[in-house]
């Protein structure tokens, strides 16, 4: 585009007179290159699965299921979202909740992310909170987005390697929010986890 270039040439020299135009000093922080590489690769693969126009719905669902396995520490997130109830859940409830939650998460995020297509994830930095626990800051841009959207990924070293346990968008961590949502729903049911399992199942589409 030529208009912004012309504007840049005319205005930029004047902007340089403003102290605000100079970049702020960046504080040194412990970055983790392997964590950043993991997020860059896995997150782009996940977006690529959803934007694949050649795949059928069944192929897309299967690829999304696999991409979630490669990206997230599903068992850890599954029990984190139960909060205090993770300690009292029975083995049978644990098995049924895990199935219902997995189905719920895949359906919800497939629907939400289906609006996007052609976006790319680029890493802008990372902070190692402690060994094996890193927050990676990224920007998602291109595709349907008018401007880059900052998204942070909390990843933890799991037996299978790095895995995502939480994602932050506009200051809101999804797993933390999900935990408060689920714990409140169980509290409201007098501590009955079955109510939540039924709720998650009732939202699932009928099995074919």
């Amino acid at each position: 585009m030529s208009a912004p270039s012309t504007i840049s040439r005319r205005i930029l020299p004047w902007l340089l007179l403003l102290p605000s135009a100079y970049p702020q000093p960046v504080l040194a922080a412990a970055r983790d290159a392997s964590a950043e590489a993991f997020v860059r690769t896995s997150a782009n693969r996940l977006l690529g699965v959803l934007s694949d126009k050649t795949a059928t719905a069944a192929q897309k669902n299967a690829a999304f299921h696999k991409a979630i396995d490669d990206l997230a520490d599903v068992p850890r997130v599954t029990y984190f979202v139960l909060g205090k109830y993770a300690r009292t859940i029975t083995p049978d409830q644990k098995r049924r909740f895990a199935l219902a939650f997995r189905s719920y998460v895949e359906r919800v995020y497939r629907d939400r992310l289906s609006d996007y297509g052609g976006e790319r994830v680029s890493v802008v930095g990372s902070v190692a909170r402690k060994p094996g626990d890193v927050v990676v800051a990224t920007e998602i841009s291109g595709g349907q987005l008018d401007r880059p959207v900052p998204v942070s990924w909390r990843i933890i070293q799991s037996p299978g390697g790095w895995r995502v346990v939480d994602v932050q968008f506009r200051g809101v961590w999804l797993a933390i929010t999900q935990q408060q949502d689920f714990v409140s729903a169980i509290d409201n049911a007098g501590g009955d986890i079955e109510v939540l399992i039924d709720r998650l199942r009732s939202d699932a589409p009928p099995r074919r």
Binding site: P4, I7, S20, A21
Partner: protein, 186 residues
């Protein structure tokens, strides 16, 4: 339901954001962030002129990235706690601190003061700002449809968002829960 095109929504959003820049600049100064205030002022001057009254974010193309600051954040920057969480009719979720901050922002808004004599401008701006806020919240409202307890989800998301906004002004690291405690095999 989306009636207008994405391009029109983006332009409306740009104008609404631009009209909020003077208020942001004042709060940046109140928070002791003159550099951020300079960026915001530069953005407002550029976008209001060569950006066609804020229709286009030329400032961002020149490397002047925008941000929002408000008086609730300013109060938080100086240590004010959020206080009780409430959901107000028409205004939606807020806290005592952020509700008071919103009131101050409205009363001290430079654009509102400058256009006080222009009949209907304030009313039109208020209406367009509300529609823009609702459009921007569309994704979150869809998320509430999937919640087991929509009230709890909205409360959690609002309080996290505001805590992060205050942390951006104060600096410091995020306090995050320990996922090790959740290491239970299925």
């Amino acid at each position: 339901m989306k009636i207008t095109s994405k391009g029109v929504r983006n332009r409306v959003s740009s104008v609404v954001t631009n009209l909020g820049e003077p208020g942001t600049a004042i709060n940046d100064l109140a928070q002791g962030r003159p550099r951020a205030a300079g960026v915001t002022t530069s953005r407002f001057l550029i976008n209001s002129t060569v950006g066609g009254l804020g229709l286009f974010d030329v400032g961002a193309k020149l490397g002047l990235e925008g941000h929002r600051s408000d008086f609730g954040q300013t109060l938080g920057r100086y240590g004010a706690e959020s206080g009780r969480y409430v959901v107000l009719p028409l205004l939606g979720p807020t806290t005592l601190r952020d509700g008071a901050g919103r009131l101050v922002d409205t009363m001290a808004d430079p654009v509102a003061m400058a256009t006080a004599g222009a009949s209907n401008f304030g009313m039109i701006r208020g209406g367009v700002t509300s529609v823009d806020a609702r459009a921007n919240a569309d994704g979150f409202i869809r998320a509430l449809d999937d919640a087991a307890d929509p009230y709890a989800m909205m409360r959690s998301a609002y309080l996290q968002n505001r805590a992060d906004v205050v942390r951006q002004a104060k600096g410091g690291v995020q306090v995050l829960p320990d996922f090790d405690a959740a290491r239970i095999e299925p």
